[in-house]
Symmetry: C2
Subunit: 140 residues, 2 copies
């Protein structure tokens, strides 16, 4: 996937979202930083490029992008939301040592089902917690 302003622009337009500078930059950040950032991480970075940006705008934009299906929102840490521009079906691993969140390719047996045991499924989250490969190697 190529990250350029043109594609980001089209992505927003395809969902009838006005491609404002703030929205473009937030989406650009997410595409360039696929480490599942927090609102604050996005905000603090964008502050350099857009000194007037408000954290409320970051919150509002991410909520809206989520509702439009352009980003996904994780609550794996339990303390703050994490955002991911990759909306395809995948799972996540949280390292309790370094705090990194890693994408996992796990085949969930009911991943593509619209219904399960009578319940309509709209979202699916697979969260794993433990110690990541890199941290295990470092402590050897």
């Amino acid at each position: 996937m190529i990250t350029n302003m043109e594609s980001i622009n089209n992505k927003l337009l395809s969902k009838n979202v006005r491609p404002t500078y703030q929205r473009m930059k937030i989406l650009e950040y997410l595409e360039k930083n696929q480490n599942h950032p927090t609102v604050d991480m996005i905000y603090r970075y964008l502050l350099k490029e857009i000194p007037t940006i408000s954290k409320t705008t970051v919150y509002n934009t991410l909520t809206m992008l989520f509702e439009k299906g352009l980003v996904s929102c994780l609550n794996i840490t339990g303390t703050e939301s994490r955002f991911d521009c990759y909306t395809g079906n995948h799972h996540h691993f949280l390292c309790e040592k370094c705090g990194n969140i890693i994408d996992l390719d796990v085949k969930c047996p009911i991943a593509d089902k619209k219904k399960f045991q009578g319940h309509v499924i709209k979202e699916l989250h697979g969260y794993f917690k433990g110690i990541c490969k890199k941290c295990l190697e470092n402590q050897k």
Copy 2:
């Protein structure tokens, strides 16, 4: 599983936790109310039986019980922690209509693995969100 004070007592003792009245009551509540209550739900109920109980005690106790492996902690809603005395491997469904959290028996392909792609796995959370069977029937 029978919920009586004797078994709760033993459960705590087996983890070298002093079975105080507050701890027993919190664990008893969880065993009798398997609807994944919040801290506040537990606190407000126990207030009737233990008028002097502090919400801090509920927090401290649940954190301790979790660390001892006697309860599990869910962050499915994103706004507050939910607790579950059933620590066996199972997944959860959150209904965005009624807010209920339902146990799901989903076979995760890596449920019993200690390691996955080099990462040591200590916790596994499967969260599904949508509209539950009961709410679907009601709106027909």
